[in-house]
Point group: C3
Chain length 251, copies 3
């Protein structure tokens, strides 16, 4: 399976152009759209989002993960292997939280291969998609060292040791207006108080625990602390946007 995690947007030709490459070069492999609106140009919140959502796909899955504001610059394209799954994308921190939480030590290869056509702005189609297709077909870096298309590098070269285990910020807002944070609910202290921009957000287990029109926070279906408004939109609360701080304090 190949899973797409990008900030390309669903409209426009970009995902279709990527899928054309995948269908041609890895025929028969299912391709799943996971996120097409990951935090735009923002590898840091995207890293926490990817780490929360990658785990339910099967071992062997190839993630085409491209949030790449530096495309065409000096950031390096590469492949990460972590706990039996493959991640193809830029070395800008997008895989930092996958690495932090991996059970076994991950490995990283720079992609040395260059396609005949490499546009300045669309490495997703030209470089990452052909590599993702190769991985999905079982052509992994270790199997074909003679190709010289991959060069293993120390994992430390791409790490961001200053990024926290969990990110106390809004990292994603969905079509319902629900706001996900970068905090895993399971790591929060039992009696914590959650607040955003000075507004305390009470806890619930499901939307209907709270009167209509009021906000609540809860563990979402992938384990993140999320903020919603029962039959309303949390993104219409004052100051809710990607990057906004969430405060967690003792009651």
């Amino acid at each position: 399976m190949i899973v797409l995690f990008t900030d390309y947007g669903l409209n426009g030709p970009y995902l279709g152009q990527v899928k054309n490459v995948l269908y041609q070069e890895a025929p028969g492999t299912p391709v799943v759209d996971l996120f097409a609106n990951a935090p735009a140009h923002a590898p840091k919140p995207a890293a926490y989002l990817l780490a929360a959502y990658h785990g339910e796909f099967p071992i062997g899955t190839v993630y085409f993960a491209v949030v790449d504001p530096g495309v065409g610059g000096d950031r390096k394209p590469g492949v990460l292997e972590a706990d039996g799954r493959w991640y193809v994308g830029p070395d800008n921190g997008l895989f930092e939280i996958i690495i932090q939480r991996a059970a076994a030590k991950p490995r990283w290869w720079n992609i040395v291969w260059r396609p005949d056509r490499l546009s300045a702005t669309f490495h997703g189609r030209d470089l990452f998609a052909p590599i993702a297709a190769r991985l999905a077909c079982g052509d992994t870096p270790d199997k074909n060292p003679a190709h010289g298309d991959f060069r293993e590098e120390p994992l430390g070269d791409i790490r961001h040791p200053d990024w926290p285990d969990d990110l106390a910020e809004i990292i994603y807002i969905d079509d319902f207006g629900n706001a996900m944070t970068g905090l895993r609910d399971s790591v929060l202290p039992d009696q914590e108080e959650i607040a955003i921009k000075g507004l305390s957000i009470p806890r619930g287990e499901k939307f209907s625990d709270i009167p209509e029109g009021l906000p609540l926070c809860y563990e979402n279906s992938n384990g993140l602390l999320e903020i919603a408004v029962n039959r309303g939109r949390a993104d219409q609360l004052p100051g809710i946007a990607i990057g906004v701080q969430v405060t967690v304090s003792k009651k």
Copy 2:
């Protein structure tokens, strides 16, 4: 074939997470996105929309139909069989119009099976998708009574006898701004006058029957009375929104 009818929105991970389950548990089955923006949290208009759009898919199709504001509450998940097609979703009325219009008497089973992981807010992924995949693979409730995963219940338990045959309301607005009503055009009297919020809407057969910028109503390609503006947007007419009444009267 598995057909998706939800209010999940196209953005965000939800449809991709559902497809992951379907691709893993019913490999090779085509999955079609029909509606991802069915009326949000509103099973009643959604029921009329589903009934207008389900019929062109082949016998044996499994509908993953989830408009489920009571998720996590006491509504029951179930499976409907109607005229050789399967419908998986909540018992909140979403299938009422399918039942009303069925040629043969439909059957209903409560889903007794519970997955190992059942989140509070995403039964689509955790409960309905595995069941839809099983049905698509031919593992129907009658074939495997020993599993004990389904319990047939009287159809009357999930009926809404007070819901009309046709709904004189706006039930959906598409990306062009066209507004569908819950009225089948074929049941309307010949000389009826259609009006919304006091504005009479003339009849047309196609958009170009009316000068540019003016509204018209017509039988849409699935038999519903629909309101559009020729080369404009009906959703910019005053008062057009899901749930708004449509009046039908003798001229």
Copy 3:
């Protein structure tokens, strides 16, 4: 492969209804969404967009290309063959630029076949999709002349000789707010100055060549001159919209 190029919008049932036909009548054929938001009701800019984006799909690809404001009127449905690819859609100019740029002389057939059910407003599902499926299955007009479903016509009947080789207008705005023009970058003079609504737009190769918040123009990944704002939105520049003129002049 079947590639979808429409102005249907991603939401709503339309693409799903088309795919249902394709999956049933051409099972196993990959279907790629290229554009679902081609310029609405506007075959002329759509023609330049299609011509820029069709080339990377394999020989034999069938394009379901429907931007069809005259649906139900007297425009004719047809099939174009150009350089080994097939294009199914209306004869309203949508294929003009494909024809202009073809290496070998294309051929055009009117579709004479009519389905049992032909709605007034959705020829995409009822007429074009079954034909696209037939072409994808190898049932081409020349192979089955006895069917009488296609009638070859002189190419001149559908030409628009007054449309220029390149269109100095905005033809598409993507989800990032980037504005594509109908100008191939390769045909522009070396020292040209690009301006829109009197605002001169400097050249760049990649976004980061320009300070954040300022506009630039560059050759996009499909060869079109495109306008963006580094880490901003070009569609928020004054006067940017589909159809707006782009001026190219000597510095």
